[in-house]
């Protein structure tokens, strides 16, 4: 059997912010075709893990390989959707131009000039994928929170990635857009590997193939194993369950989820 190298391979990784340990002894392998959800309490290291994978942060110890290369090289194959809260909500830019940013660095050097025609086609295809074809001429600042999130997913898709990394794609969106989003992700997963950060365990167990629990340590579980004990383990006991409202979330939203 000819086994391909994993898409992400993290070995014995430690990371700390100002001597405060955030991630310890992390070992993680993500295979091609995975649709995984990264869960864990706030401050548990979810976004840190994404930034390490993207090469935006350097580990104190250990190795990260992305497509068998360093994160700085391998990240060219990653489509990344950040949380849109850090963007200027008034920035004057068209939806199409935001999506086109995914094509930067694709042309020779990408230092100067405009986009080739084929970049435009890729951007329009990405907008179509998230159902926003009619909005390409709209201004980014006129869109709703959910639409902005979809534009940023389209921008990530426009990089023509083999791995899609989504940081909280379900934050601040209404249940119907959330449903659309899951359908889109399942469809995209047929041709690319997807990892997303999510607070919504109810969704997690229905759509994703595995759950990556991040709370200083990183443990990967197939979704079939998710149960109350595991949730307790991930979030560190009943105290946190109440504080983060996850039990309620899980039970309360459960019947509304689409069967996939």
């Amino acid at each position: 059997m000819n086994r391909k190298p994993p898409i992400i391979k993290i070995t014995d990784l430690d990371f700390s912010y100002h001597e405060h340990p955030v991630l310890e002894a992390v070992n993680l392998e993500i295979e091609k075709g995975e649709l995984g959800s990264i869960v864990g309490p706030n401050g548990g290291g979810k976004t840190t893990l994404l930034k390490l994978i993207l090469g935006l942060l350097q580990p104190d110890r250990g190795r990260i390989e992305i497509f068998g290369e360093s994160p700085e090289k391998g990240r060219q194959k990653i489509g990344y959707m950040p949380q849109h809260a850090h963007l200027d909500p008034l920035f004057p830019v068209s939806v199409l131009n935001v999506v086109l940013m995914g094509q930067l660095g694709k042309q020779s050097g990408g230092l100067f000039g405009g986009y080739p025609r084929q970049a435009l086609e890729t951007a329009r295809a990405a907008l179509n994928e998230v159902g926003l074809s009619d909005c390409e001429k709209d201004s980014f600042h006129q869109l709703s929170g959910g639409q902005r999130q979809r534009v940023l997913i389209a921008r990530a898709l426009c990089t023509e990635p083999q791995l899609l990394l989504l940081d909280e794609p379900t934050a601040n969106i209404d249940p119907r857009s959330e449903e659309n989003l899951y359908e889109t992700l399942v469809r995209l997963n047929r041709r690319m590997t997807i990892l997303l950060v999510s607070h919504d365990l109810g969704f997690v167990s229905q759509v994703v193939k595995s759950v990556i629990c991040v709370n200083r340590q990183v443990i990967i579980h197939p979704t079939s194993n998710i149960n109350g004990t595991l949730i307790k383990e991930i979030y560190g006991g009943d105290f946190n369950l109440v504080r983060h409202d996850h039990r309620c979330d899980k039970d309360g939203h459960h019947p509304n989820k689409p069967a996939v």
Binding site: L54, L56, R75, Q76, I78, Y80, P82, H86, L87, D88, L90, F91, P92, V93, S94, N97, V98, L100, M101, G102, L104, G105, G110, L111, F112, G113, G114, Y115, S139, H141, Q142, R155, T159
Partner: protein, 278 residues
């Protein structure tokens, strides 16, 4: 109207020159101002503009002490602005590292050095025109420099429009796509520095940042594209400069502050209009 009669007078070249400089500087104000506002670096631009006084003072002092006749203060101003832009760009852009303190220190030290150099320089020197600007003092040399600056800015912005857009909109994503974010940022700051130096003729060190930010900020309230924001900012800047120049000439007031008042009034009118009717 005295202003229009004076403009029509073929012998009155200084007013025509001032008007030409004013209109041409609107291009630099509008375009660079758009980046200063969207990239949120007006505080950095303020530090750069106040450091210019250090460069002017240093150049005046060297000129007097070593009899360097060729040493025009504008060279000192350019050097100081570029050094200040490099310092605040390199070290003042580190989130969580108290960058404001660093920028504020550069701001104050640059200005203090300027005053001390001017104290040390023998003879009397009036810095008022540098601090508050006097567009009626511009020379045909200034006009040529501003035309060159406009051309460089237009060339840079048209050739790197999408790259600059990405860097200003989402720096982290631009870096992930392999863009040299630091290089673009430093180039933008260097252009801001040169713009500040050449345009302190129009409104002075103290108020040049207002001309970089007010027209662009007013334009941002109504623009849906970065390019549209630039064009509107150029237009608003030109209106402020021409009206300010005309009124200050007729009423015998300092041109810089009148121009700034027009730009400020336009900004508040446009912000108020948007709040009421949009």
């Amino acid at each position: 109207m005295d202003f229009f009669h004076a403009l029509a007078d073929p012998d009155n070249t200084f007013l025509k020159l001032a008007l030409a400089v004013g209109l041409l500087s609107s291009i630099a104000f509008g375009i660079i101002g758009t980046y200063v506002v969207t990239r949120r670096i007006s505080y950095l631009a303020g530090a750069v503009s106040h450091c210019v006084l250090g460069g002017i003072g240093g150049a005046l002092w060297l000129k007097a002490i070593f009899n360097l006749e060729w040493l025009d203060p504008v060279y000192g101003a350019l050097l100081a602005a570029l050094v200040a832009a490099f310092i605040v760009g390199r070290f003042g852009h580190n989130p969580g590292q108290r960058e404001e303190t660093m920028i504020g220190a550069t701001w104050a030290i640059g200005m203090a050095l300027g005053i001390i150099f001017i104290d040390l320089t023998p003879g009397y020197f009036d810095i008022t025109s540098y601090l508050f600007g006097d567009i009626l003092l511009v020379s045909s040399q200034d006009l040529k420099l501003i035309i060159a600056l406009d051309l460089i800015i237009i060339l840079f912005v048209t050739s790197c429009y999408h790259q600059l857009l990405a860097v200003c909109f989402d720096e982290e994503f631009a870096r992930l796509r392999g863009l040299n974010v630091e290089l673009f940022y430093q180039l933008l700051l260097a252009l801001t520095a040169v713009t500040v130096v050449l345009l302190i003729r129009v409104v002075g060190i103290v108020m040049v940042v207002a001309m970089l930010t007010l027209p662009a900020a007013a334009a941002s309230l109504y623009a849906n594209r970065l390019s549209g924001m630039m064009l509107l900012a150029i237009f608003l800047s030109a209106i402020s400069i021409v009206s300010g120049l005309g009124l200050s000439y007729n009423a015998n007031l300092s041109s810089g502050p009148v121009i700034i008042l027009f730009a400020g009034a336009l900004y508040f009118l446009m912000a108020g209009w948007k709040k009421l009717y949009k």
